[in-house]
Amino acid sequence: MSSLLHRLPTHVVRIGSQSAVPREEEGFDLPALAKKMWLPAFAMGLMAVAAGVVAGVIQATSGNAARVAQIAAWNPGLLFLGIGFLLSAVTFTLARILGELRDGGTSVQQSLGEHALMLKRPWSGYAFPPAMMMGLMTLIATFGLGFLQAAWLDNRPADAADIAAWSGPLRFAGVALIFTSVVFALVTIVKSLHFQADRLTQIADERQ
């Protein structure tokens, strides 16, 4: 806790209606992490969806009823997990856009001989990474539940039916959480663009 407090920015200034901190006082560099993570998330998403499509074709052409029932139990979880990874790649790319806005704003301010200020991370900037992670964890859990359901089809059919009943809505909840993180990331981009307009206006006003 003390180290967290130590990292909190101390020189908060108001620019227009928003709070700003000097560029050098930025805490955790989320865009740098996003730059590394978008490609693995994107690749895993494409692979999961492709595997789900192949499993669907096997399910459609198989004559083995037990195998068809098992694939039907775990395949939706696999497909939703793929969609979740792809949407996470979108969130990571939005975080990269935030990094580009930050770096571009810094270079413009420095070219004008000004001290580089950046938007103090708003609540939406803190909220979108955990929302994405919670959504992805939900989808990973429902993916695992699909295999449990498939394993219980013969021995415990009532329990397997129970899992099928609530894991479907849970999958949608996971995707909804990731969409929420996309919205929060977009809100942060809007705030960042607003801040840049206010900062340029302030610099121009000071020079008149």
């Binding site: 994107f42 499509v53 792809l86 979108v90 856009i97 571009g104 413009v108 070219s111």
Partner: protein, 103 residues
């Protein structure tokens, strides 16, 4: 700057191609849906949904991929914008910028 511009254009063109594929995909999906509803073949009605639903989720995956590519084009455009502003603004305020840099 020209390299960034051509990269942005390339991403945008690929995104358009993906959107065209997505449009074709959901239209084909709708066609199969209508086909299932009006078919009398028991086998067709039973087997088609098993692969159609995953295939349509593949279409959604393509749509999300086109979003990612468009966001990449936006990233390139933001870089171009920042470069242009950093280069042109000091020329618009040359005296004030020089004074600030000295102090």
């Amino acid at each position: 700057m020209k390299a960034l511009d051509s990269e942005a254009r390339r991403f945008q063109i690929v995104a358009y191609v993906l959107v065209a594929l997505v449009t074709f995909g959901w239209m084909a999906g709708l066609g199969f849906g209508v086909g299932i509803a009006s078919s009398t073949s028991k086998e067709f009605i039973q087997d088609t949904p098993a692969w159609l639903t995953p295939a349509l989720q593949g279409v959604i995956a393509l749509a999300i991929s086109s979003v990612v590519l468009t966001l990449f084009a936006i990233i390139r455009r933001i870089r171009i914008r920042a470069g242009v502003l950093a280069e042109t603004l000091p020329r618009l305020y040359p005296a004030a910028t020089a004074t600030r840099k000295e102090s």
